[in-house]
């Protein structure tokens, strides 16, 4: 039932193409600031690379994956041709245009501001306009997802929305709202300065706006992964979803509590009151809930598959799992990385503990483990699972796929564990050069070297991934049949309104944003004398 395969393939190829470039930059960054590289002598090059790497990995790559996957879900789960195909292509081309527009100034060294924008640092205006175009392109997708669901609802009044689509639309709403923070920062604060209309900027307010985006964007990155956990993995390994309602509740919880917690990124900022920091910290603790629910439900679903395959005993069933199935492997790796990453996250979210790792390499280690590890490995799995349906050709070499997943997992552990460790020792993040000859940091040289080696393993795995997909475009043709999602043990015949629609939860999301962000934003905006002169990158 995938009618618009070209559209979906375009999204995936662009996503994985830019991913390949950004991955290479990442490996280079790792290498060049490690003891095995020699000092660049121009730190500006490092920040150029870092800006490109972060912008692509944070904004362009996951957005494209979510969009492509979203279109696939809409067509296959709803069994309905995509409405608004022309708009979908418009969104795609906006992202292409935006990505190019943003990357040209970065390559030229005119926008080495890093993907978090770092005001009062100000780069070339086209960098920001490019990012805005990417976001606008993705908003078209948000609208299309809502419209497609509405069209389907009209044809199926009262019927339960398929879980995959319910989650997909929840993710798109989350993205629509969370992107507003960065959009306000760009449109009201940064772009006027970059365009030369103003020369000062309220950096504190800008950081608060950015924190509005920065946490929930993480859950937007995570959505495709969680959708794959619930709706692809059980089917691929021959099991069933343990509970459809539990799944819906998890996605609903993400919608409600992912937003009002972003100020855990501003714990060290003086312009935010401690009371608000506490509220955000407490709500952050809640966001562990949907993940714990998910881990429980997925483990139960996997156990069902194992028992159906004849697995027995308290833990004996684990052996009965189809370990040679790439989807099983990806899930297991993803869960291990999610577990370690989640444990690290508990440290980041506590006001006091955060102080010891704030702005250290621990942070970069943490989000690479969660995002680059647990999340991206499921992006790979999604691509592998969808590919035959998109190309009409079989992915034959399962062993190569397994090797690729193994390398990503091992590479990520080797990269990120020492990365966390040097962070605890106090090594700052976002530094182009470390003098490992200095006795103060000489003991960290070994850990950083391991990270760099891990980086090259990841690069190798990433190249293999792209080769596998490219070879899949030329493999023998097969009829992959319709694309299906996992069924629940008790496939629901009816679902309560609240679990079948998003309105209530979107409303709560917006209300909590207003309660948790309203006051700090309004006071910062109204307080006089809080702006500082902009610092222009690459200008004289």
């Amino acid at each position: 039932m995938l009618a618009n395969r070209k559209l979906i393939l375009a999204h995936f190829w662009l996503a994985f193409g830019v991913f390949g470039i950004a991955l290479t930059l990442g490996a280079w960054q790792m290498f060049i600031r490690s003891p095995i590289g020699t000092w660049l002598s121009n730190p500006e090059l490092y920040y150029r690379s870092l800006t490109a790497h972060g912008t692509v990995m944070g904004y362009v790559f996951p957005t494209l994956v979510a969009m492509g996957f979203g279109y696939a879900i809409s067509e296959s789960a709803l069994e309905q041709r995509l409405v608004g195909v022309r708009w979908a292509w418009t969104g795609f081309w906006l992202i292409v245009a935006g990505a190019i527009m943003a990357m040209v100034p970065v390559v030229l060294g005119r926008a080495s501001v890093l993907y978090t924008f770092y005001p009062p640092l100000i780069g070339n205006v086209f960098y920001y306009l490019g990012v805005v175009l990417v976001v606008v392109g993705s908003w078209i997708w948000v609208a299309l997802m809502a419209i497609n669901l509405r069209v389907w609802r009209r044809a199926h009044p009262g019927a339960p929305v398929p879980l995959a689509m319910f989650a997909n639309v929840a993710g798109s709403y989350l993205w629509a709202w969370t992107a507003v923070g960065a959009a306000l920062e760009l449109l009201l604060q940064i772009i006027p300065v970059a365009a030369g209309l103003k020369a000062t900027i309220d950096a504190g307010l800008a950081r608060v706006f950015f924190s509005w985006t920065l946490h929930a964007i993480v859950y937007f990155w995570l959505m495709p992964t969680y959708i794959a956990y619930y709706t692809i993995v059980p089917r691929a390994i021959g099991g069933r979803v343990y509970s459809d309602s539990m799944a819906r509740i998890s996605f609903i919880l993400f919608l409600v509590v992912a937003m009002p917690i972003g100020m855990h990124h501003t714990f060290a900022d003086p312009q935010v009151g401690a009371g608000f920091k506490f509220i955000h910290s407490a709500f952050t603790a809640l966001v562990a809930l949907p993940t714990l629910l998910t881990v429980f439900t997925i483990c139960a679903s996997v156990e069902i598959a194992a028992r159906l395959r004849g697995g027995r005993g308290m833990f004996g069933w684990i052996r009965a799992l189809p370990w040679d199935n790439p989807m099983m492997l990806a899930l297991a790796f993803s869960f291990v990385m999610l577990g370690f990453g989640g444990a690290g996250g508990l440290i980041n979210m506590s006001y006091q503990l955060d102080a010891s790792i704030h702005n250290t390499q621990w942070i970069t280690g943490h989000f690479h483990l969660i995002f680059g590890g647990a999340i991206v490995i499921m992006y790979f799995a999604i691509a592998y699972d969808l590919w035959p349906h998109l190309t009409g050709r079989e992915l034959i070499d399962l062993r190569l796929i397994r090797t690729q997943l193994w390398l990503w997992f091992v590479g990520m552990i080797i990269t990120t564990f020492p990365w966390h460790w040097v962070g605890i020792l106090g090594m700052p993040r976002r530094m182009a050069y470390f003098d490992f000859g200095d006795p103060a940091i000489a003991p960290q040289a070994l850990s950083v070297t391991f990270s760099a080696i891990g980086g090259f393993i990841l690069l190798a795995s990433g190249i293999m991934f792209i080769v596998i997909l490219a070879r899949g475009m030329r493999a023998p043709q097969v009829d992959a049949g319709p694309y299906r999602f996992a069924l629940a043990v008790h496939q629901p015949a009816t679902v309560p309104v609240a679990l079948n629609t998003h309105a209530l939860w979107v409303a709560l999301m917006i209300v909590l944003t207003l309660t948790n962000y309203g006051y700090p934003i309004v006071t910062l905006a109204l307080t006089e004398g809080t702006s500082v002169p902009a610092v222009y990158v690459g200008a004289q």
Partner: protein, 271 residues
């Protein structure tokens, strides 16, 4: 199933969803705005409202704190984007006339033979700032200060534009070029020292930082030591004092010798 059936307290999901959310919000708000502020015994609050305002981050001006008395003069230079923009030929000509009295030390073409700084082609903002600082007393020098005290703002701007307009001493190689010492290439990250070039022009130029290539070795050494000892203090926010203090005498030696041996053509131009 319509919004009417959902957004009502008769719907149990609505009741539970809204109820739990509101309860959590209220409990965390009371904890964050009232309980925790009072749990800090070392902070005194006049009343509950005072504690809430403090936790909310209401901007407050402390009433009884006065700024510490400033005993030494600091740099007060203000540079806007218009101060030195697009000098007219006339302004440069006026600067040239004024510059005749500087020639005795800084050389008739802005290239010194007396261990004073070469000014030809120096960034205009640098000359502007130093002359202002000499005039205000933020920087003092027995020879230089008397020249600066009587200059007007206009004269300072003209002089700055004139010297910036002169060609840099291109083929000026006082000594064989030395290799870059590590303090210049790397700085010393663990001591908070950035590579010199990240401000002084070869990698990037930060407004007010001069380029150093081909300057007198003796002069640069004296200045670095003056920054380190705090004898010179007209650098804004102690930018240069912090660095000089963290440098070893050997590094000061090496950096000064290196820069003195370089031709100034590697430095970024300013438009």
């Amino acid at each position: 199933m319509s919004a009417r059936d959902l957004f009502t307290f008769r719907n149990s999901h609505f009741r539970i969803g809204v109820g739990i959310t509101a309860a959590i919000l209220i409990v965390t708000a009371i904890t964050g705005f009232i309980v925790l502020p009072f749990a800090q015994h070392w902070v005194q609050f006049a009343n509950v409202w005072d504690a809430i305002c403090s936790a909310a981050g209401v901007p407050q001006r402390a009433a009884n704190v006065t700024a510490p008395e400033q005993t030494k003069r600091l740099s007060e230079v203000v540079l806007t984007s218009h101060t030195l923009s697009r000098p007219s030929q006339e302004a440069i000509g006026r600067g040239a006339t004024l510059a005749q009295r500087c020639a005795i030390c800084h050389g008739p073409t802005g290239i010194s033979r007396a261990d004073s700084p070469n000014l030809a082609g120096q960034y205009a903002a640098v000359i502007y700032k130093e002359l202002h600082d000499f005039r205000s007393g933020a920087r003092t020098n027995a020879v230089m200060s008397p020249f600066a005290v009587n200059l007007t703002d206009q004269e300072i701007a003209d002089l700055s534009n004139y010297y910036a307009y002169l060609p840099r001493p291109a083929a000026y190689h006082p000594t064989p070029q030395l290799p870059k010492p590590s303090i210049v290439i790397y700085g010393a990250p663990m001591r908070g020292i950035a590579p010199c070039g990240s401000c002084h022009g070869s990698l990037d130029n930060k407004t007010g930082s001069p380029w150093l290539e081909g300057q007198s070795e003796a002069y640069m050494k004296v200045q670095l030591h003056a920054f380190a000892s705090g004898e010179r203090r007209n650098d804004i926010s102690q930018q240069m004092r912090n660095i000089a203090r963290a440098m070893t005498p050997q590094e000061i030696e090496a950096a000064a010798a290196y820069y003195a041996s370089q031709p100034p053509d590697v430095v970024k131009a300013v438009d």
